[in-house]
């Protein structure tokens, strides 16, 4: 058996990426390409009184200035079943369709010119007179309200629980209670969002940064009221997204509108500052956690309330209560979710949306409870281990969290931790150890793939999926190569094009569990087609054999009893005068979702060094152990996990949008003042995968790992800061001003 699954294969697209030959959305070289630049509103709410485009239109190279006064009226048809990546209530921004300003940074005009410099300048020349009206720009928890019906139907429930949480909390011998906050955070993928729109007659091609080409097509088809078949979306490489490219943002519509107006291909690339308002962000949250426990450290009550900001024109909500509902065993639980409307661009999913927030509060509160009880934080988690999903009342499809705890604790050297805070030092620095649990629910969606066996003995596998960095190109190639019994080099995987078979969204850690199984099915379908031909043939080694008498192995067909030789795919194709043979396969969730609850788990251990006088925190070590089911490629999987650690470190120590309520605006909208981690911030980051193979969840046995990798990191760091300093910082990020 040529085991390719499970091997630490180097990325198949690696050479293209390191030589600069991988083509990202902005880089398609279309003849006659022109450039667009947006004008955005500088007020949080109001309307446009008047627009003066005269100077802009006169500027050199300008082809068109589109405003709400001259833009085409677009139908913006409703999509019958709203895509899960969209806000589930309210109405998306209808760009340039009216004079209303709904948030600071809203696109209100677009300039199109021959060159980028000319377009940007023309945008600066557009004069707009605004009438400002009172805006909701302050996050006031008192205004919190439950999610609306659309969101509730999509599982963003206002309340969930079991037992009698209030009474149990009142009766609990030991209680802790605290409030935790994190600020608005931005994805800040290094590649800006960008769209090239190209109309050829009635047909539109979009070269777009997107995590879901199929949905991108659907959205634009509905916005413009044209059949989906007339649109093609191409997106072979995505320069990071972390959720920001799940849905289709207004600038994609603007690019298509502009290209239609000028009759040339148009590129619209957002500036870094525009990326803070033209796409979404992780919403600011405040949460209140109350834990009740017995003296021996068993949870008797858990109350968790999360309040988040939300835009006013549409309502994006998250599954923040999901981790609370099932991370620990607790008979009495009450979780509540509230939204505070603000005049802002809509938030959107950002790596482990909602869950990372819920885990943050819960895991910091668990640390506080451990202190109150004088029990080791790891031991407290073990005493409250959830053997089943107590909210759903279902067994786990698999759960190796105990192994995660044990493996990571051992590797980290957790036993060296002295329980008292401020008890460990290295020179002038205080040393702290902290830990937290990570969890992210595992889902899968319907997916389709095709496999073409080719005359040269290889295979081409296709699906309209995406690879924003996890290594879809590589891992899917591995799955196909192993299933077909071909060497890796003989298999090519293509993605990122609506001309390819339907793939689900590349987000929520679903890609491998969904598409991986579809590829297995497609490989099987191609093999069956080929075997059927061979068996139906008038002559040849398999002529007339029943289907169970033949089997594929070693890159070809053979008799199941092992007699005779293996006939390679290429040979079989040749025998039937076929240049190639193609088949499709699909996979979708089934009965397992009713029988099991599925999630990926992790245990994260962190060491911090605190310079107490100056208030700086550094993180020399992060060790995580993960149960993500089967690991297709440990090399790329490890990269995802250490990347999640870096993201979590940013959340814990650096990332914060500086929101000025007077303007309803993020003031540090760049990468010099909105800080994300740099190389020097990162010490040892180590990810270990505990053995698992979750066939209860899906045939490939994988659970998904992108999201779980960021969960738990920020609370582990905050808990370590407490251990180092004795100070419980409940507000992220933990920067020197907070520590001093």
């Amino acid at each position: 058996m040529n085991a390719i699954i499970g091997q630490p294969v180097s990325r198949v697209d690696g050479p293209a990426k390191v030589t600069g030959h991988a083509t990202y959305a902005a880089e398609f070289d279309l003849p006659g390409l022109v450039h667009a630049a947006m004008v955005v509103a500088p007020i949080p709410r109001g309307h446009i009184r008047s627009v003066d485009t005269a100077a802009a239109e006169r500027a050199p190279g300008v082809l068109a200035i589109l405003t709400h006064e001259n833009a085409p009226r677009l139908p913006y048809h409703q999509i019958p079943q709203r895509p899960q990546v969209d806000a589930q209530s309210g109405e998306q921004l209808h760009v340039l369709q009216d004079a209303e300003v709904r948030f600071n940074g809203q696109p209100v005009a677009v300039a199109v010119a021959e060159t980028l410099e000319q377009a940007v300048h023309a945008a600066e020349l557009v004069r707009i007179d605004y009438a400002r009206t009172p805006a909701l720009t302050i996050f006031d928890p008192a205004r919190g309200r439950p999610p609306s019906e659309g969101n509730v139907k999509a599982g963003r429930v206002p309340e969930l629980g079991r037992g009698e949480a209030e009474a149990a909390l009142a009766a609990a011998p030991v209680r802790v209670e605290a409030r935790y906050t994190h600020p608005r955070e931005h994805h800040n993928a290094i590649e800006p969002h960008v769209t090239i729109a190209h109309w050829e007659g009635e047909h539109l091609t979009l070269y777009d940064k997107t995590q879901w080409v199929d949905n991108d097509r659907k959205e634009i088809a509905h916005v413009f009221g044209i059949p989906e078949e007339r649109i093609r979306v191409v997106s072979p490489f995505v320069g990071g997204a972390f959720g920001s490219a799940l849905r289709t943002w207004p600038h994609v519509t603007l690019a298509a509108m502009a290209a239609q107006r000028v009759g040339r291909p148009v590129r619209l690339e957002l500036t870094r500052r525009q990326l803070y308002t033209s796409i979404g962000f992780r919403p600011h949250s405040e949460q209140h956690v109350a834990l009740g426990a017995t003296k021996d450290g068993r949870l008797s009550a858990l109350k968790h309330e999360v309040i988040q900001q939300v835009g006013r024109y549409e309502e994006y909500a998250e599954t923040v209560l999901s981790p609370t509902s099932h991370l620990y065993s607790c008979p009495n639980l009450l979780a509540r979710y509230r939204l505070v409307e603000m005049d802002t661009n809509s938030p959107c999913p950002m790596r482990a949306p909602g869950v990372v927030t819920g885990v943050l509060g819960l895991e910091m509160a668990m640390d506080e409870l451990a202190v109150e009880l004088n029990i080791d934080p790891l031991e407290l988690r073990l005493r409250n281990y959830a053997e089943t999903d107590e909210q759903k009342g279902l067994p786990w499809s698999s759960k190796e969290l105990r192994a995660c705890y044990a493996t990571a604790a051992e590797r980290f050297g957790w036993s060296r931790r002295r329980p008292e805070p401020r008890s460990m030092r290295e020179g002038d620095q205080l040393v702290g150890y902290g830990m937290a649990t990570a969890i992210y629910h595992s889902d899968r969606s319907a997916a389709t793939a095709s496999v073409a066996l080719t005359g040269n003995g290889g295979a081409v596998v296709r699906s309209a999926s995406s690879d924003m960095g996890p290594g879809t190109y590589t891992s899917m190639t591995q799955v196909a190569a192993e299933t077909l019994g071909l060497p890796l080099e003989q298999v090519r995987f293509e993605l990122g094009d609506t001309n390819l078979p339907y793939a689900p969204v590349h987000g929520g850690s679903v890609t491998m569990a969904s598409l991986g199984n579809a590829i297995v099915a497609a490989c099987g379908a191609a093999q069956k087609k080929l075997a059927d031909l061979a068996r139906a043939a008038q002559q040849g080694p398999f002529s007339g054999l029943p289907s169970e008498a033949v089997a594929f192995h070693g890159g070809g067909l053979a008799r199941a009893d092992g007699s005779g030789s293996v006939v390679p795919y290429a040979e079989l194709l040749r025998q039937h005068n076929l240049g190639w043979l193609e088949a499709e396969g699909s996979a979708q969730p089934g009965e397992e979702t009713k029988k099991y609850s599925s999630a990926a788990f992790g245990a994260v251990f962190v060491e911090v060094r605190v310079d107490e006088a100056l208030g700086t925190v550094r993180v020399p070590r992060i060790i995580g152990a993960y149960d993500v089911g089967r690991v297709i490629n440990p090399k790329t999987a490890r990269s995802q996990c250490i990347g999640g650690m870096v993201g979590g470190l940013g959340m814990a120590l650096e990332e914060r949008a500086d929101w000025d309520a007077r303007f309803g605006r993020v003031m540090n909208a760049n990468l010099a003042e909105y800080l994300v981690p740099v190389n020097a911030d990162i010490g040892v980051t180590e990810a270990i995968f505990v053995p698992n193979d979750d066939r209860n969840f899906n045939p490939l046995g994988v659970k998904g790992l992108a999201e779980v990798a960021i969960c738990g990191v920020a609370p582990a760091i905050a808990n370590a800061v407490w251990h180092a300093t004795g100070r419980r910082i409940r507000q992220l990020p933990i920067t020197p001003d907070v520590l001093l």
Binding site: G20, I642, I682
Partner: protein, 161 residues
Amino acid sequence: MPPEPAQSFAVTLRVNGQSFETEIDARTTLLDALRDRLHLTGTKKGCALGQCGACTVLLDGKRVVSCLMLAAMAEGREVTTIEGLARGDELHPVQAAFVEHDAFQCGYCTPGQIMSAVGAIREGRAGSDDEIREQLSGNLCRCGAYANIVAAVRDAATREA
């Protein structure tokens, strides 16, 4: 006699050993000239403000961010981009080490990381892990591949030494 100030003009840019004559706007940055005029899109635009390092190239052998330089200012200088590193199909040792150590995920910051690493090694500033971390801190990687980047640069620096 210096030229008269002008808003647009032809320049000759030396990139990867080749000369390119191109008409540019005075406002055109070296980055935009590389990507949009010369179609050398390996050099990436991340922020256009010198804050992410994705557009790092070598200018007369030294690391610079091409977004903070007007294209006109690069006239008469030798620019090396990511496209100029490999010898045919043979990857430059730093490129090979990045693949081997999985020193990237999405790949968008990667050309900048590699150019920065090549510069750091040439400058003799890749002597220890801590030095590599500091020297590569002008190149943001939002996917968080930093540990692998350090491993790749260390490996390449050792091999080249």
